[in-house]
Subunit: 648 residues, 2 copies
């Protein structure tokens, strides 16, 4: 008999963390990072711009065109509105960025709309914001990669049949780079992002210079304009609002930095804030510049040539090297926009998972200090979307902006409410919020006004969007959003229920330690692996039974003979199986034992598990333990243990 209280050292031992040993090195994903590197695995402002801004910047590639497409319904005369509308959108951008600047400083742990809304408005608004952002991240990957591939395919039409494969390869590449860690992905993506920014500024600068010097003409040989209907509509307020809401696609991706503050070097908030301002300045000036020049050169919306292409072709006098650079830069930034989601989605889902609204695995950080599960989950979802929509999802671009403005409104509204409460506090009092302490701020009124005005503006855009874009696809969000929130709550319910179930309150006295332990060792043959399993079994208990399922009498005779030599007195039970079945007779035998067992008796089934030198060899072995586990998992008091036996 074992006395469990013998030989025990009951002191608590506290160990500090050490460098992980590099035993899982992988060529594709790079050397595993020691935990001490976590601080170094943060990024500076320039790389941060490349990682988090590519989504926002990529929208300059299509936002002007989106406005022109809507205006075209009223004829070319309406195109004059493209510049004023763009200016209004940039003003909106300024308002939103000011609000997010405050968020970045108030919430240095990151989280953006989800954290801000949960913290200030409550759990449900937080979940709405979280769901809206997740939808945006899902769609951004497939939409932006597909848009980039569409550019490639329009240049090389012979690749059309391979577009799905090309898009999947792009997603796979971005995934692998992201699994290598955020810093390395930033490095890989910085060059193309900056290339795009520089080339676009050169284009706009050249265009403005030529306009001033009077050498800038209009588009030569313009493509065919796409009109929505046959009859021309007048220039109505609805049309202008519709055009405006299409153009707000330029704002998608602005919130990415606020979700990823923790990726920045210390001082995090300051670095993230400065990056946010830089991004908005670049985004705003590129967008206004392109819209202005597009109007000057009388660019037209068309399905055969993009507005960017018309602008570049006119400014650089035809399809020379600079034109090629613009097209290449645009293509690459569209594909890289997907990377913003890869930076944002895993962080957001880890936060949701930590609060119990998404599977807990999403909080798990891999050996390269990134949220590996989240990255892989996003890649899989995006891949499925690409296959289903055959990489032709560009028309989904306007769809998810509604989710973006929903999260803008909730985040800014939450901040406004926060400042309001802060203003009502006693200057010396402090109260704790969800993740940051709320305290009196003497500038609360100004801050509240700024955030409140931002929330109001984005709410108005949200309404405009819902009305003007409902039939274009905004209704899909109305289906997806409640579904996602339903999933969040279902998961939360499971975790809460589990916690209640496992809780030790009212648990009473636990069952005693000393219980009967019976060990079964199923074996088809007597060999070194069987003996290893037997040796392990004998260590666990003195009640060990080896079980042989007899399919061929000759084999059984051999097993019996070998057992005389090697069994060392352990009981052997032979179960006949005339029809050469294995699992069923074994399960029968186990069920027999289970039906006659004593209370508190535990049964352990020990299965030898061959660990071949080559992984491919695993496919050649019966996964007996897996099969038994599937059958016996629901039976209390049965434990299935694989004893690994290293072969070669």
């Amino acid at each position: 008999m074992i006395n469990p209280e013998d030989n025990q050292d009951t002191s608590f031992i506290h160990r500090t963390a050490e460098k992980p040993t590099a035993n899982i090195s992988h060529y594709l994903l790079g050397r595993p990072l020691p935990t001490a590197d976590a601080a170094h695995e943060t990024i500076g402002k320039a790389v941060g711009l490349a990682v988090f801004a590519s989504d926002a910047l990529s929208s300059t590639a299509y936002a002007t065109q989106e406005i022109l497409v809507i205006l075209a319904a009223a004829g070319t005369i309406a195109f004059g509105y493209v510049f004023p509308i763009s200016l209004v959108i940039v003003v909106l951008l300024g308002i939103v960025v000011m609000s997010y600047e405050q968020i970045v400083h108030t919430y240095p742990q990151g989280g953006g709309a989800y954290i801000v809304a949960s913290d200030n408005l409550g759990q449900f608004p937080g979940l709405i914001a979280g769901a809206a952002l997740l939808i945006e991240y899902f769609l951004t990957v497939s939409v932006s990669v597909s848009a980039g591939v569409a550019q490639i395919v329009s240049a090389y039409p012979e690749l059309f049949n391979y577009r799905v494969a090309i898009a999947l390869v792009c997603v796979a590449l971005i995934t692998i780079i992201n699994l290598r860690g955020v810093r390395e992905s930033g490095m890989a993506f910085a060059i193309p992002s900056f290339f795009f920014i520089i080339i676009m500024f050169i284009t706009i600068g050249t265009g403005l210079f030529r306009m001033v010097t009077g050498t800038l003409g209009t588009v030569i040989d313009p493509p065919h304009i796409n009109f929505h209907g046959e009859a021309l509509d007048g220039i109505t307020a609805f049309l202008l609002l519709h055009a405006f809401s299409s153009g707000t696609a330029a704002l998608t991706g602005v919130e990415a930095i606020s979700n990823g503050i923790t990726a920045f070097k210390e001082p995090r908030s300051r670095n993230a804030g400065i990056t946010l301002i830089w991004m908005s300045l670049i985004l705003g000036s590129l967008f206004v510049g392109i819209s202005f020049l597009a109007h000057q050169i009388v660019a037209v919306p068309s399905e055969t040539e993009t507005v960017i292409s018309q602008v570049a072709r006119t400014i650089f006098n035809g399809q020379g090297l600079m034109y090629l650079f613009v097209i290449a830069g645009t293509t690459v930034i569209l594909i890289l926009a997907a990377n913003t989601s890869f930076a944002g989605f895993p962080r957001l889902s880890a936060m949701l998972a930590k609060d119990g609204f998404m599977p807990r695995q999403l909080t798990y950080r891999g050996s390269r200090l990134v949220y590996s599960y989240g990255i892989v989950a996003l890649a899989v979802i995006a891949g499925i979307q690409i296959v289903i929509f055959q990489a032709s999802v560009t028309r989904l671009i306007p769809l998810y902006a509604i989710g973006v403005f929903l999260s803008f409104t909730l985040a800014q509204g939450g901040m406004a409410w926060r400042w309001w409460r802060s203003g009502r506090l006693d200057p010396n009092e402090k109260r704790s919020g969800h993740s940051t302490r709320l305290h009196y701020d003497k500038r609360w009124f100004i801050k509240m006004s700024a955030n409140g005005f931002g929330a109001f503006c984005t709410f108005v855009v949200l309404c405009v969007f819902a009305v003007t874009k409902f039939r274009d696809g905004a209704w899909i969000v109305i289906i997806l959003l409640p579904m996602l929130i339903g999933i969040f709550l279902w998961i939360k319910k499971h975790y809460s229920g589990l916690a209640d179930n496992l809780s030790l309150e009212n648990y009473g006295e636990p069952p005693p330690y000393n219980v009967r332990h019976r060990v079964l060792v199923p074996m088809s043959n007597v060999h070194q692996g069987t003996l290893a399993a037997l040796r392990y079994a004998r260590m666990l208990s003195d009640d060990v039974t080896a079980v042989h399922i007899s399919m061929e009498p000759e084999d059984t005779e051999k097993v019996r003979e070998k057992w005389e030599t090697w069994g060392r007195g352990t009981r052997l039970v032979i179960v006949d199986s005339p029809y050469r079945l294995f699992l069923e007779p074994l399960l029968n035998y186990i069920n027999d034992i289970l039906s006659s067992r004593q209370p508190n008796e535990t049964i352990t089934i020990i299965v030898p598990h061959f660990v071949p030198a080559m992984r491919a060899h695993n496919a050649l072995h019966m996964q007996t333990a897996e099969m038994l586990r599937r059958e016996l998992l629901a039976t209390p008091g049965v434990v299935i243990t694989e004893v690994p036996y290293q072969v070669l």
Copy 2:
């Protein structure tokens, strides 16, 4: 200290098999069959015809057309050869069937070409025959399902875009029916098979009657003839041989019965043999009848209308009900031809697996007494082929016949060699072969001549095939065959190496039982699941250490407090993880222990495993044990055990 020799009952216990309990019932696959039903799960002659003959019979739907397509190269004048060529093919069919009749009686355990060739000619010829048959089975499923779907699509062209999906649904249906058991699949397939046979006999009978009464005309409004080239070739010997080899597609599937003898009711060999003869009579008369009538009505080969359709249309005066029956019957029999592979492939691969040439799991029989792994493997391979070739693989039909004739030649050659040896034995002597005893047969010379002649004929056809069809796709077989044999030998090598490795010869004295056993229980929180794991751990050893990875100091404090109450003196080690990593610090700690352990010390890591009531909830739990297993599998002396804890 445990004395392992205590309390042991060393007697051997022999148990007979019992009915498995029906705890895995599944709506789709039906009630699990008790083992005692295995004998009842065999089939009679009529059902056997439906299961094993559909492949062979389906070839009547295209064999005549295959001949006409080749003859068309010499113009319509050459069409007159279709009937004599068909007669020669039917004679060949008779020879092959006679040979297989002998095989069925000599090898009542089934196995066809693989067993016959291994047993009589040696391992390598056996593997060639096995590989050739496997290739045939692989291709039959995708080719026949695709051909059936092509018929559906030609009737309803609007379904063209869904052809891949339709083909996959067909494969899935056939798979599910097969997983229900061979008897039930036979029942499900008997009706359409007999419908096809009856409708074809009515068609041919009506055609002959109308010809005799002089009311049978020629095809009205015949489709456009497809000529191979622009210039007409003469009627050369090569052309006739080419046409002949195309027509031998009619013989594919004839060997299926010999592979599946064990599926038949006792007396197996007799039932299988009678079924084989019935099949060949039906096949031969249908084929000759169709060829004869096709010539009479001057049917032409065409891509827009099949020969069968022309025959039926002419005989039944247009596209009435009977015409529809013929087309529907042909479509269904083409799809059902796939079922022959589902009956043959799992049996053949189980035999190859039993001999160590394929993964051993393929010998595993599921709860419905069928080789579940083999059925699923075939379905997956066929599905991949259908997706890759977009369900348009009809042009692969002639491809795999070369494999069929290779296996015919090897099987018959093996039989001939067997009779030769049998003739040289002393009439009273007996010698053992691989699976049947070789003994003197006084009719050895006649039998040898029959089988030898068969082998010679099929060998000639094989050569004709190789020459005339090489560029059409026969070369693919020349690539696939050695690849498959290479895989067989690689698998065999692994199993042999493993067996040597595990062998107890020269094993010497096994290590002693009494070794140190250390148990680690990683835990993130103290709850009922943790306590269950701890209770199990304390049963295994008196050296138990609980390990907590500390990510948040507050949580750790709670764990420490709860441990005071519930730990009952078990040592608790707390490992700091400032960057909130879980796996890496735990692995470090384990590695530390491993590096300082004594020889012969075993370490067991016990992880609580939540078993939620709903399977979907599994996705919400960290598979800690899986992660640990992946990292520590190669480390000797470490066992990872999950203690299931049933929740709700």
